[in-house]
Symmetry: C2
Subunit: 385 residues, 2 copies
């Protein structure tokens, strides 16, 4: 396998983007990444999208985007792993370059979620769960993550205040990110007094419904500079793992086994350990998800992540800054794009381009992208070249 590096990235403004279509958003991200990299062509494309069919009535997304990006006849493939679709696009593109088949690969992600009603969007998102056992019986994602939160609170004493601390920290970071959907700062009280969606999760514990896209350009690590103009960020670890699709089939409601396993593979490939990470984007679709993911990634002992967040350990300047972008919570969660959007943040951090959000001296970073209630997880570890 050849080593692979990222030499260009771009993320669109996230939010309810009325004046741009599904394809417009992707093209904006793709052209932005191509410009950032300075490449004069691409060899192939991989596009993460969770449900073009249900959100905008469009499948055949690879060909559509190659066409509208002006890149046909290059091969273009859409990949899907629910909310981990972007992470899977990054990984699949990496394998294409690693194989020697392609030299310049565009990986991207896109979702246009606000063109349908809220109940339809809730149904579309629920297709990431087990349709026959969970969706059919009416469980939606806030309900599923609420069950995980209740279990975590019961076993470890995690508190609603600790959950709220995740949201407060991510909105603080998002207030420094010009693409964030909800860049306002919030308080613990605001979270705890916001509408209860599924006890113990309030609306401010939940990531929003978002339109947005992100893209990155991958090349062989030994050809950075020859193929583009930007500093390379090497992908030194990649792990992908699956778990039971249904929450009720898990051995432990408080553990994200696919996250632990995908992280273990990525750490081993990179020759790194959790304490080597300078900055990390974690899949915070709900506040409890960030807490459980950080424990599964080995940043904190089981049951202790909530207290660590409350103590400020995951803030910029803390022990391990988490979701400096604002995360899915504040930056927004265009589901198929989120995994690539995480990579955009880490690449910019490792290039020292994050401005007010910059983690000083960041050299090694991680992205962790998750589908469903953790039935899929994709972890990448990256290092500045």
């Amino acid at each position: 396998m050849r080593d692979v590096a990222i030499i260009g990235v771009h993320v669109t403004k996230c939010g309810e983007i009325w004046n741009k279509s599904f394809r417009d958003l992707f093209v904006e991200a793709g052209l932005g990444a191509i410009k950032d990299a300075g490449v004069d062509h691409i060899d192939s494309m991989y596009i993460g999208c969770m449900s073009g069919g249900l959100f905008v009535g469009q499948e055949h997304i690879g060909a559509l985007m190659a066409d509208y990006l002006g890149q046909a006849p290059v091969p273009a493939t859409r990949v899907e792993s629910a909310c981990a679709s972007g992470g899977v696009a990054l990984r699949t593109g990496m394998l294409d370059v690693a194989s020697g088949h392609s030299d310049i690969v565009l990986v991207g992600g896109v979702e246009k979620m606000t063109d349908i009603g809220g109940d339809e969007a809730t149904y579309a998102l629920a297709t990431a769960a087990d349709q026959e056992w969970e969706g059919f019986n009416g469980v939606t994602f806030p309900g599923l993550y609420a069950m995980m939160a209740v279990a975590h609170m019961h076993r470890y004493g995690t508190t609603p205040q600790q959950l709220a601390s995740v949201a407060v920290k991510n909105h603080d970071n998002g207030s420094l990110n010009p693409v964030a959907q909800f860049p306002m700062k919030i308080t613990i009280d605001a979270v705890l007094n916001s509408v209860l969606v599924a006890d113990p999760l309030h609306i401010l514990d939940c990531s929003p419904v978002t339109d947005g896209a992100a893209a990155a350009i991958l090349v062989p690590a030994d050809r950075v500079g020859k193929l583009g103009k930007k500093q390379g960020v090497k992908i030194i670890g990649s792990g992908h793992a699956t778990d039971t699709i249904a929450l009720h089939s898990r051995k432990d409601l408080c553990a994200l086994e696919a996250v632990s396993k995908s992280a273990a593979i990525a750490y081993a490939m990179a020759g790194k350990k959790p304490t080597d990470m300078d900055v990390c984007e974690v899949h915070d679709c709900f506040t409890i998800a960030e807490i459980m993911a950080m424990e599964a990634l080995g940043f904190f002992e089981k049951g202790k992540a909530g207290r660590a967040v409350e103590a400020g350990d995951t803030r910029i300047g803390g022990k391990i800054p988490i979701n400096t972008s604002g995360g899915l919570k504040s930056k927004g969660h265009p589901v198929g794009a989120s995994g690539v959007s995480q990579a955009v943040e880490i690449v910019e951090q490792l290039r020292g381009e994050s401005g007010a959000r910059q983690v000083k001296g960041a050299k090694v970073g991680m992205t962790q992208n998750m589908g469903g209630t953790g039935a899929s997880s994709v972890v990448h570890i990256m290092e500045a070249m």
Copy 2:
């Protein structure tokens, strides 16, 4: 890149399969391929599916199928390229093995299309076209292919009888295939007197709506026999290309540029030419599609494929046997599975296992899988080891 071979295949019965669910169908195909190969584990999975969201309300298909196949935590990714999703799964899995990242990869495809009404299925299929310009204005796939047929008839003198000859030949082949959805033989008169769907295409010019799944096991070519028990079939060529998503944007309504380009790449990689092919599965979603694809693949000169079919050149025993399985027309067209199902037929032909459908002495074969009106095409060339 490492050379890659297929050592196990399986396809389910195709049709309106009331007693098996979306996941049941895939698991049946996956277990069948694992058994055929004789492998004791797999390293990763790629699953082609066009629209789990619209057909069965299920996305997150990679994790779902890894779970139900008993293979979690292996990495599992769903890929989509409309009706070329299966071909893209085969290609993506091939790149994973070629890269050196995985040794034993299961590629599969699945679609469960009959659980929704006919109008809903027509809408779901139309998402393979350009939603904003084609779908929105009410064009469906029979209408789009009818426009291509009219153009081909106008320029080259292709006749309704020649179109019907494709259907008759494919049903003759399908009558010998136990998994075929419509194994009955038909006549030219039956086609021409069947209901007109979109002039000049009658219902018997159209492939059906189908439930079904298919799977194959890929390994490094130099480890065939060590990893499994079956004769290997080497993938010696792979090409994937895109074209404009909308038919009205094409330079030529009578040409399938993505097919020509994907074939040229595959021929060059394999060091083969059209006359080297002993047997070929072509994407015959409509009879005109088979004619245009055969011309794009170089089997016949532009405008002459219709006459060749009428003359029997594409029958078993003819110059180049096409769709010995019965094709999408008679075997059935479970859209996300069709590309893998084509590979199953070619592998069995090259292993000499096709019984009454066997092409004598077949050593080199091809699959050509297409999305939309040809906005995507994936071509694989395979050789018996």
